[in-house]
């Protein structure tokens, strides 16, 4: 992260002793990791994590049974679960990084050394990120298990895990930033959870509410297959050999133009991960259209949770389908191709948020301090 490096002031750098960035960051990182590795809390969390992920996976394995996308569904389940719990764990690992040290009286000791605020923040951020990534690493047995079941391309898997790691890093950056800005560890942990909740839930709520603002009266054309009136007997059952016909209706109704508000969802961590994954929509088994004996809809393809999110976003981007054909109606799952990816926007928003917090943190940690919060002591 270039945002947290200390800009070198030319007139000062000449004579001033300075600490190389890598040395400083490595030292802070080692300091943090030693404390984490020698404590017990982290191992307990990892242990509980492994058991829970394992339980969910085995449960999923048993419940899902034999669909044609077993590997995909389980892989998505693990990715979604690791992301969900990562969003819960990362603030805990990062959001007391700085003010915890302040409370312990060790922050000022670091600040009187040649360590710059940027180096301190970078080291703390990397350490909390590494701590969070351990949870991802611990999930690898299940990830490989799911991959072994097939149905997930290498590209999907790599991008999923990469984006997962990036999201954990962003949450850690938010946590470290807040921990420097807030004075009490409890307050900063709660604030970080609030910010994460704003991204993960707030975006969905705002999206849902905004849908009311983009309602519009549109003419909707919908189509479906049915048996013609003439081929039905007195009981309403079709006569043998009757042919299905395509009926098209038009109606006026209020539909939300979600294509205008989909960007709100972009900053959602689940959307960023799901939208970035290049799900293979072309190679799916071609859905059959209605045959002479009615819509078979098969073979069924059931998307996993992350792919469902990805498809949901694409559907929202496409906006209401005002002209549905019979072929479309007959398909059980009709994957939408990606038109405009929203994840770069979402990632950009998240990075801006994290960078703003880290810059604020760096300002706050720059000594000598001119302003102190009420009731705080430096040492």
């Amino acid at each position: 992260m270039s945002t947290v490096t200390e800009p070198s002031t030319p007139d000062r750098a000449r004579s001033a002793p300075s600490l190389p960035f890598t040395t400083a960051v490595r030292t802070v990182f080692a300091l943090e990791m030693k404390q984490r590795l020698r404590g017990r809390g982290w191992y307990w969390m990892l242990g509980i994590w492994f058991v829970v992920v394992g339980f969910i996976f085995v449960l999923g394995l048993g419940v899902i049974g034999a669909t044609d996308n077993e590997g995909g569904i389980l892989f998505d389940l693990i990715v979604g679960f690791v992301l969900f719990f990562g969003l819960l764990v990362s603030p805990g690992l990062s959001a007391n990084a700085v003010n915890g040290d302040r409370a312990g009286g060790t922050l000022a000791i670091l600040q009187v050394t040649l360590l710059t605020p940027g180096q301190l923040i970078a080291g703390k951020w990397l350490a909390s990120w590494a701590g969070s990534l351990a949870f991802l690493v611990l999930s690898t047995p299940f990830i490989f298990w799911a991959l072994a079941l097939g149905g997930v391309t290498g590209q999907e898997a790599v991008v999923s895990l990469l984006m997962l790691a990036v999201e954990l890093g962003i949450v850690c950056a938010i946590g470290v930033g807040v921990s420097a800005l807030a004075n009490r560890p409890l307050f900063s942990i709660v604030s970080t959870y609030m910010l994460v909740a704003l991204l993960a839930l707030g975006t969905v709520i705002v999206f849902g509410l905004s849908a009311l603002l983009v309602m519009e009266e549109r003419t909707i054309t919908s189509s479906y297959y049915t048996y013609p009136e003439s081929s039905l007997d007195s009981m309403g059952a079709p006569e043998p050999g009757a042919e299905l016909e395509c009926v098209t209706q038009t109606s006026q109704s209020e539909v939300p133009n979600t294509q205008y508000i989909t960007w709100i969802l972009a900053a959602n961590p689940f959307v960023v991960v799901a939208d970035a994954v290049p799900y293979n929509v072309e190679d799916l088994p071609e859905p059959e259209t209605a045959g002479p004996y009615g819509p078979t809809g098969g073979p069924y393809y059931t998307p996993g949770v992350m792919e469902t999110i990805s498809q949901g976003v694409r559907a929202a981007q496409a906006g209401p389908d005002t002209d549905q054909t019979c072929e479309e109606a007959a398909q059980a799952f009709r994957p939408l191709p990606q038109e405009t990816p929203v994840w770069p926007l979402g990632l950009g928003i998240q990075l801006l948020l994290a960078a703003a917090l880290l810059l604020g943190a760096r300002r706050k940690l720059t000594m000598p301090a001119r302003r102190l919060a009420r009731g705080t002591r430096i040492a």
Binding site: G105, A108, P368, R374
Partner: protein, 310 residues
């Protein structure tokens, strides 16, 4: 005495926290090669002043020069030449004493062999070598205090700022601290010690700056402090004979009430006057059992300032 190359010069410094004026107007000077005591009651601004000299806090007004550098404009230079020991004991509990020292050494840009060697030397100097590889959490308060001192010395600083270094130390460690600080000053370093345990500073400090309510109220050397009027306490068997002898020589005295023992307090201007009185009493056949200064030289000054003790 102090020039641009060493020592500390503080002029007219003020610093407030919100509505609290922690430091109003402090002038302070600490020449290299001497131990300067910073003396004042609790809450008189000692720690705030030390934080400003350690480049952690910017003054609202006034100027500070530490080893020739301005902490506000040149914090890096100040930090590399200053060793600061805070009054709070912050410790990374799971790290060993040796790791604490090497970590801080690394953050001062010391090479690995350098900091390893230096950490070993300092652990021996503060008599913690037996605990060097124990986690810091098993150290007692006094041991942590000594570790904190070693930490402040890790980068061999020219200026030492020690905030209450003797608190929590046992008598043996205090003696060690005294000789360590004296030897550091003898090497030409600037040593500033804040404390309110005055008896100790008498033996360590060369000079003292008294602060009260955020203002520097007096600055004197120990020699000056020793030359001023002091109170002596005298005990004799029986006390009535002592009272009679003192009255006959016109020496004013008062019975001390804050002590368990019965004793008289007299004000004497110089040590010559004290030796004259003692000789006179002995010659007058008063059985003198005790004759000593009532407090240290600095305590005498501190009490005479009498600005903050109500």
């Amino acid at each position: 005495m102090t020039n641009d190359c060493g020592g500390i010069v503080v002029e007219g410094v003020a610093r407030s926290f919100g509505s609290v004026q922690a430091v109003r107007d402090i002038d302070f000077e600490a020449p290299p090669g001497e131990v300067t005591a910073l003396i004042g009651p609790n809450g008189s601004g000692k720690t705030t002043l030390l934080l400003m000299m350690a480049s952690l806090l910017a003054p609202d007004l006034g100027s500070i020069r530490v080893a020739g550098f301005d902490p506000v404009v040149q914090p890096r230079e100040v930090r590399s030449s200053v060793g600061w020991m805070p009054d709070t004991l912050g410790a990374w509990e799971s790290l060993t004493a040796r790791e604490v020292l090497t970590t801080i050494g690394a953050l001062y840009g010391m090479s690995r062999p350098d900091r390893t060697r230096r950490a070993g030397e300092l652990l021996a100097a503060v008599k913690l070598d037996a605990f060097g590889d124990q986690p810091a959490r098993v150290l007692s308060r006094g041991q942590q205090q000594r570790l904190s001192l070693a930490r402040a010395l890790i980068h061999d600083p020219q200026v030492l700022l020690l905030d209450e270094p003797a608190s929590g130390l046992d008598p043996g460690s205090r003696v060690d601290l005294r000789s360590l600080l004296r030897s550091l000053a003898a090497e030409g370093r600037t040593v500033v010690v804040s404390s309110h345990v005055l008896s100790e500073l008498d033996e360590i400090a060369d000079r003292a700056v008294f602060v009260s309510r955020g203002q520097s109220v007096k600055s004197q050397t120990l020699d000056e402090a020793g030359g001023q009027t002091r109170r002596y306490y005298i005990q004799a068997e029986p006390m009535t004979a002592l009272a009679a002898a003192l009255q006959s020589h016109g020496v004013r005295f008062e019975a001390r009430r804050d002590s368990r023992r019965e004793e008289f307090l007299v004000q004497l201007g110089t040590t010559a006057e004290a030796s004259w009185l003692l000789r006179t009493l002995v010659m007058a056949d008063v059985v003198v059992t005790a004759f000593a200064p009532a407090g240290g030289a600095l305590e005498e000054t501190y009490m005479s300032l009498d600005t903050d003790r109500r």
